[in-house]
Amino acid sequence: MRQGYAAQAMTVAALVAAMFVQTVAAADKKYGPGVTDTEIKIGQTMPYSGPASSLSVSGTAEQAYFAMVNAEGGVNGRKVNLISLDDGYSPPRTVEQTRKLVESDNVLLIFQPLGTAANAAIQKYLNAKGIPHLFVGTGATRFNDPKHFPWTMGWSPNLAAEGKVYARHILASKPDAKIGILWQNDDLGKDYLAGFKEGLGDKAAAMIVREASFETSEPTIDSQILALKSSGADVLFNIATPKAAAQAMRKVHETGWKPVQFVIYSSSSIAAVMQPTGIDKVQGVISATYLKDPNDPAWQNDPATQKWREWMARYNPKGDPRDFLNVYGYTVSQLLVRVLAQCGDDLSRENVMRQVTNLDFDLPMLLPGIRVKTSPTDFRPIKQMQLQRFEGERWVPFGGIVDGG
């Protein structure tokens, strides 16, 4: 009996000691919700089902990237646990799922939720609660607003900036251009259009001879291309997501129209757009980019691209190596890992934001010369792009890195 008592006392003492030790250790570490010594829990929503499900390739790639990070020991010894939920590309479900991630799963931050409308729907909620809303999966300009939304940060160059890059190139290379614009009637199209017109400045009204919009629900855009062609335009700015962009380029070719064509970055994938359109029909088309395209022979022997290929083979074997979203998801996950590593043992939400607004480095799959750079007043990690022209079977860069600011 006495011995039993002594054993109990010893256990209590040991427990107290253990608690004390832990408190001491924790003094060096600061953990926000979802963080322990062995795990960092983060969340996101993705359109795994529904009309935009083709975009969820990036979500799959991100999970595959963290699988590799975890297999190699995690970030500062902590495994990254990405909870990726389906929102069906429907903003009300994005809100519901994000609330679940924040209030029941207790994630540290929200990472790369996909879609302009989806992110707009959760932006206020996350900012009101002070939860990092990082590297949103949309290029819409509204997500770069540090004054009103200090917890929200974008990732890819914003659409208006890209529009400006094309406008400046036209002003410099073809100042007397007559421009026809095909644009998708949604946030994406409007953002590009606004940036493009801003880039042309006061010459916009004189240079743009015809604008034709289309809805994503329209089966074909032949009618719009014919109208643009008959306007006499000699430059065509093709603001369309892959399917319509490919249809437009093919129709332009079939009607014998030969304008200088610009196609937006997200529709410049060789495998998803250029090849289905027909390589012979897209010669000379101009676009801009910031990521390496692993299908481009120029990167055949690039060590970073080879590492990407190994990762695809080992951790993302079901993914299509021709889909640029696999590079996109890989690189944006790399960025988050760099941020988490930079946080060290202070994984509070405040410190995450402090670190994320203080970045300056390059990433392996970004084009050489393009850097990730942020400051407390600049929430655009990537601002530079590289103009490129389609020649033969690949994109050939020209004119150096340009700033879209």
């Binding site: 499900s53 809805e215 089966p219 009618s223 719009q224 399917k243 490919a246 998803a272 289905p276």
Partner: protein, 289 residues
């Protein structure tokens, strides 16, 4: 003037697409009395089968015939397995099944073949037409659709099987009394609609590219076409498709702007349903909607 002509011809080309899908809708309506919301997705799925066959190295026409045969069998199977238990169910239940099939086929195609756009071949793409106004494939769609129409007409008017199928749809009880196997007639109707849908998919894919959401936009226009022409009339469906295609181009380019083109298709659907539910070429001939 030039642009007017261009828009009319381009409208006829897209109208032929709507017509080919509308034919499948009419087919299933005529034989079962239902409107199949999954028709577009079934056609898309068939087109993937054709694509897989062509990619595997089969010549186009062999792949074409095989796809039509497989789709026919698939249509019969769907009717026997999925819809047969619902023969006496309320319309709502059947609509729910159709919508479920729509989602299932879409997800299945994405799961099997991925979401990247795929180029689909056309035997007539390279055929020179001598004018930039329309391409060889546009002509091909129109010819195939009209040929289908003639075949359907001959089948329903001049074969006893066609007569039995019409009887089974219009008056199942009497048909059964005179010895028509109504259940199998319905299954045959499904098979034929699936086969016509497969042809439509293979005609459409070279224009809009093949992807799991290929039919989403087209199906709505096909509904408009089928309703405008009269949901019971195959000829009406083709005429309706061409009218919708040309009207949407003209109205979109010269009158209301492209933003409202889709609204225009919906307006057609609503106007027809309100003012003349039997459509232009339905049982009674009418002047205009």
């Amino acid at each position: 003037m030039d642009i007017l002509l261009q828009q009319i011809i381009s409208g006829l080309a897209s109208g032929a697409i709507y017509a080919s899908v509308a034919l499948a809708l009419v087919m299933i309506y005529n034989t079962t009395g239902h409107i199949n919301f999954a028709q577009g997705e079934m056609a898309m799925f068939s087109t993937y089968i054709a694509w897989a066959l062509v990619t595997a190295g089969l010549p186009y026409w062999l792949a074409f015939v095989l796809t039509v045969a497989v789709s026919f069998a698939g249509g019969v199977l769907i009717e026997r397995v999925v819809l047969r238990p619902l023969h006496n169910a309320p319309v709502m239940a059947i609509i729910v099944v159709f919508i479920g099939m729509l989602l299932a086929f879409n997800a299945l195609a994405g799961w099997i073949w991925g979401f990247l756009l795929k180029e689909f071949p056309s035997p007539a793409r390279a055929v020179a037409t001598g004018t930039p106004l329309f391409g060889g494939h546009d002509l091909f769609i129109l010819i195939v659709t009209l040929a289908e129409l003639v075949l359907l007409f001959l089948f329903f008017r001049h074969t006893s099987l066609g007569l039995a199928m019409r009887a089974a749809a219009q008056n199942p009880a009497s048909a059964r009394l005179v010895g028509v196997r109504v259940g199998w007639m319905l299954a045959l109707g499904w098979g034929m609609a699936a086969a016509i849908g497969a042809v439509a998919g293979m005609l459409v894919a070279p224009i809009v590219f093949l992807d799991p959401n290929m039919m989403a936009g087209i199906l709505l226009y096909a509904f408009a076409a089928a309703l405008l022409g009269g949901i019971t009339s195959p000829g009406g469906a083709v005429a309706g498709g061409l009218i919708v295609g040309v009207m949407e181009n003209l109205v979109g380019t010269f009158v209301i702007g492209n933003e409202l083109k889709l609204t225009f298709a919906l307006a057609i659907v609503i106007c027809v349903l309100i003012f003349k539910p039997s459509g232009l070429f339905g049982k009674v001939m009418v002047k205009r909607v």
